[in-house]
């Protein structure tokens, strides 16, 4: 077991280096650099730069070196525990990602906190709806509910979420004026009590969370249905049925529990989604999370920030797959064997 874990962790190192190197090369291949990217968005005079002066500035930030030197330096500082300094914000990347603004705002005020909050709600919505739908579908595969639910979920799956987002903003935000659609907190948030704050956050997160959740319903529901159906075909289920238990009892007491094992995989796939901010949804709903930050980082060619977000994403994916695999191997010794 421990040898297996150690081997897996060692394997992660080259994977990780490869991922970051590819991201680094990709951002470097895009024309421009942190100081040339167009950051102006309005009228007003911008003056010419002096070539020598400009070169000196690039040198000051090491941007005149070949890409592998820059990458090496970045990797080196990562090993010493630093994500580097953001070019566009001129402060440490860790502070940009995990720290709040100059006026505070707590962990929630940080891009990571904001994204966790939004995606957490989205995952809850997704799992809360899709798992029961999957179970109900497995009860009578091919029955009316199964076919109806899968048709509806596939329609949802195929609707582009920016389009749904605009529709929800116009209906719930503008026409009916039921829910907020801009930002994550109301103006008087700081003067609210804890329960009211939670409600305020929830109301702000609801529309974007729906947009993030509905597309995944089909996947999760079908996955649940498949996992349960497989278990239902096993002998012990037949035994349970033979004992005289109802289908419902068999499903909930026996089949679903056993189906949880393949669903570990699903968990492994969904957990990384918690920290991957959606660029489109976060910017449409002005949600101050990692997705919006990523968009800004790309536009301003803020290499350290782009890399840090990629590292964060890669690390969560690698560790959650590792966790799933370890959980599997704990539950099922066959997995541990060499292929």
């Amino acid at each position: 077991m421990w040898a297996y874990a150690a081997r897996r962790i060692l394997l992660m190192v080259p994977t990780f280096v490869l991922i970051t190197a590819v991201v680094f090369l990709a951002v470097k291949a895009a024309p421009g650099n942190p100081f040339s990217a167009a950051r102006s968005t309005g009228e007003g005079a911008v003056r010419q730069m002096n070539p020598a002066d400009y070169e000196a500035m690039l040198a000051r930030y090491g941007l005149d070196r070949p890409w592998y030197v820059q990458y090496g330096k970045w990797l080196g500082s990562l090993l010493s525990g630093s994500l580097g300094e953001s070019f566009s914000e001129r402060r440490p990347v860790s502070q940009v990602l995990f720290g709040a603004g100059p006026s505070g705002g707590g962990f929630l005020g940080s891009p990571l906190g904001a994204t966790l909050c939004l995606n957490g709600l989205a995952l809850l919505l997704m799992a809360g709806l899709a798992v029961p739908i999957g179970l109900r579908s497995a009860l009578r595969p091919g029955g009316f509910f199964d076919r109806f639910a899968s048709a509806v979920l596939y329609v949802l799956y195929s609707l582009p979420n920016f389009w749904i987002a605009i529709l929800l903003i116009l209906l719930f935000g503008v026409t009916w004026d039921l829910l907020p659609f801009m930002g994550m907190r109301s103006d008087g948030y700081d003067s609210l009590g804890p329960a009211e704050r939670a409600l305020d956050l929830f109301r702000h997160a609801l529309l974007p969370a729906i947009c993030l959740a509905y597309g995944g319903l089909a996947f999760v529901a079908r996955f649940t249905r498949g996992a349960v159906l497989e278990v239902l075909s096993r002998d012990f289920v037949r035994v349970a049925r033979a004992k005289g238990l109802s289908v419902r009892q068999v499903l909930l007491r026996h089949a679903f529990r056993n189906a949880l094992l393949p669903m570990l995989t699903l968990g492994g796939l969904l957990v990384p989604a918690l920290v991957s901010g959606s660029v489109i949804i976060e910017s449409l709903f002005a949600w101050p999370g990692l997705g919006q930050l990523y968009m800004k980082a790309v536009f301003t060619r803020d290499y350290p920030l782009i890399l840090a977000e990629s590292v964060l994403g890669a690390a969560v994916v690698l560790f959650s797959t590792l966790a799933v695999d370890l959980a599997y191997s704990a539950a099922d010794p066959r997995v541990r064997q060499e292929p």
């Binding site: 009228e43 070539p51 566009s88 801009m182």
Partner: protein, 582 residues
């Protein structure tokens, strides 16, 4: 690596792209009822409204109070005005800090921290008399030392102020003669130099750093917790969410009427527009799709001021006349191009009337723009006559003119990111075809576009430009700016290698002329000569439509293209009547 020198070029395009996201909408509210999409005369395209003031509040003294909430597409980068180089940071820090001078709504310099200034008759020195009794927001007095400190910080090679320093290249020295007098000496008499002093001053007592500490200044806390002399001070800044500024009660001009400015970070224009409709924002830029949605909405119009103004940026096609192609060295050919292209048609059909045909590099109606220079009319017959005269005739009957065996077929380079440009070029392609000229369009990525234009490796190119706060056209039209350096890069922005000795002379004359009337004469003459020479075909200027909630009174838009905020005092004169406050 693309040539660094002209990275300042990039923001112009960014501005252009954004401007054009918002410029093909409808007209001002005055023209309500005109059929949607119908083409209208563009000469009067910008709506007539310049001031928003409800009749019942005319003559009433402004009352203190009220909050103005607007959107920003992204967080400010830093609120350190020396280090900041982006427009979004500027929109916020300009209320916290004050410049020495600023431009008013007519693009005339007015004193802010400088009460007055004068230039010696030989033009070699300008003396700024600083306002007395101005306080920093921490209560310390503002003095000449602050001006010197900020200037020295901006000129420190370790400080990331590369986009500020070029404005001071003609400055020989900056000294103080006493605590309230600063003397700037110029290397040579240089009239455009005054505009460089739209320069935001930082407090020496809080920001001074030891020699060699410029790097630390770039990341100093001043960027996150600024202290200025300006009309508002920083109240709250939640990164990615909002910035709140609060009125500074000890502002030298008196406390601004509004209590609070709130900048919410809202990246998408659809969201901004929806938030304006629900009252969460007090201002929205209206785009092509948005304006027709509300132009007949009585409730929307009743609660809003609608302004439309022509942006300062002009768009042009540059004709490379360095001799690398057989077409454009001849002024008759360039004039023919301008006559052949239906620019008014593009303004009417593609911009739906929201723009104006350009007639040169100067802002129409500005003091530097010669009213006698009119845009070339669309006149294909004249274009054909000029091309005949220049020897371009269709000798083989294939519909395309030729001369000495060379077909008149050229390539126009255009940045692929600006989709609007390609739509214009489709129209011009057909126009040129009608006079027997073949234009192919080469769409390239922005970095490639810059690289090729800087190396003068193109036949024609479509781009945008803005001369800035001072109309000096030196880097755009002077022949010295069209030379190639040993590195293969152009020396300036004269990518088309335009060279007219008389224009060169007049550009030098106006640089050394401080009297605006005299300077205007030279600029007007330049305008005439450029109109004759057509080194570029000046295409058009786009316009912006902005809605502001009409509980705000005394809202003014600059007729010099500065819009609602980028002039002085603009927002400082806004106020909200007590009964309009909710």
């Amino acid at each position: 690596m693309k040539p660094p020198r002209r990275c300042s070029h990039a923001p112009f395009l960014a501005a252009a792209l954004l401007a054009f996201a918002a410029c093909s909408g409808g007209g001002g509210e005055e023209r309500k009822g005109v059929a949607e999409g119908a083409s209208r005369p563009a000469a009067d395209a910008p709506s007539a409204r310049t001031v928003g003031l409800l009749p019942e509040f005319e003559g009433r003294a402004p009352e203190p109070g009220g909050t103005f909430t607007r959107a920003l597409p992204a967080d400010p980068v830093t609120l350190n005005p020396v280090v900041a180089s982006d427009q979004i940071s500027f929109l916020v820090y300009k209320w916290i800090f004050d410049p020495l001078i600023d431009m008013n709504e007519a693009m005339e310099p007015v004193g802010v921290l400088a009460e007055s200034w004068e230039t010696t008759p030989d033009g070699k020195a300008t003396t700024f008399h600083l306002r007395r009794g101005v306080l920093w927001q921490d209560g310390k007095p503002f003095t000449a030392d602050d001006v010197l400190f900020t200037y020295e910080a901006a000129m420190d090679p370790d400080v990331d102020a590369v986009n500020k320093r070029p404005a001071f290249t003609e400055v020989e020295s900056v000294r103080k003669t006493d605590d309230h007098t600063v003397v700037v000496r110029w290397k040579s008499p240089y009239a455009p130099g005054l505009a460089a002093w739209v320069f935001y001053v930082m407090p020496r007592h809080l920001c001074a750093y030891p020699k060699g500490g410029g790097k630390a200044f770039n990341t100093s806390p001043a960027g996150a917790s600024p202290v200025g002399t300006g009309p508002f001070r920083l109240g709250e800044w939640r990164r990615g969410e909002l910035v709140v500024l609060e009125a500074n009660p000890s502002y030298f001009r008196g406390r601004p009427h509004l209590d609070r400015l709130v900048f919410k970070i809202v990246p998408q224009s659809q969201t901004q527009f929806a938030a304006y409709q629900t009252g969460q924002l007090d201002m929205a830029s209206l785009s092509a799709e948005q304006w027709p949605q509300v132009r007949d909405d009585a409730a929307f119009l009743r609660g809003s001021w609608i302004f439309e103004y022509t942006s300062r940026q002009f768009f042009y096609i540059g004709w490379n006349m360095d001799g690398s192609n057989p077409f454009f060295a001849d002024a008759r050919v360039r004039r023919a191009m301008t006559f052949a292209m239906n620019r008014q048609g593009v303004v009417d059909k593609i911009l739906v009337g929201h723009g104006a045909v350009a007639n040169g590099p100067f802002y129409p109606g500005g003091w530097e723009s010669n009213p006698a220079v009119k845009p070339y009319p669309h006149d294909p017959a004249k274009a054909m006559a000029l091309l005949d005269e220049a020897g371009w005739k269709d000798s083989d009957g294939d519909g395309i003119r030729d001369r000495g065996g060379v077909r008149f077929s050229f390539e126009c380079l255009v940045p692929a990111e600006a989709e609007m440009f390609s739509r214009w070029l489709e129209v011009f392609q057909q126009d040129l075809r009608k006079v027997g000229v073949e234009m192919s369009v080469r769409r390239v990525e922005w970095g490639v576009f810059l690289d090729r234009t800087h190396r003068h490796a193109f036949q024609a190119c479509l781009s945008g430009w803005n001369l800035g706060d001072d109309p000096d056209p030196h880097q755009f039209l002077h022949s010295s700016q069209g030379k190639l350096l040993p590195s293969g890069q152009g020396a300036g922005q004269n990518d088309v290698s335009y060279s007219n000795p008389e224009v060169d002379r007049l550009i030098e004359v106006q640089q050394g002329t401080f009297d605006r009337e005299e300077r205007r004469e030279a600029l007007w003459r330049i305008h005439e000569l450029v109109a004759q020479d057509q080194p570029h075909t000046y295409l058009l200027l786009g316009s912006q439509i902005v809605a502001v909630r009409n509980r705000f009174q005394n809202v003014r838009v600059s007729r010099a293209g500065y819009g609602l905020f980028t002039w002085y005092p603009s927002l400082l004169e806004w106020w909200v009547p007590t009964e309009k406050r909710s």
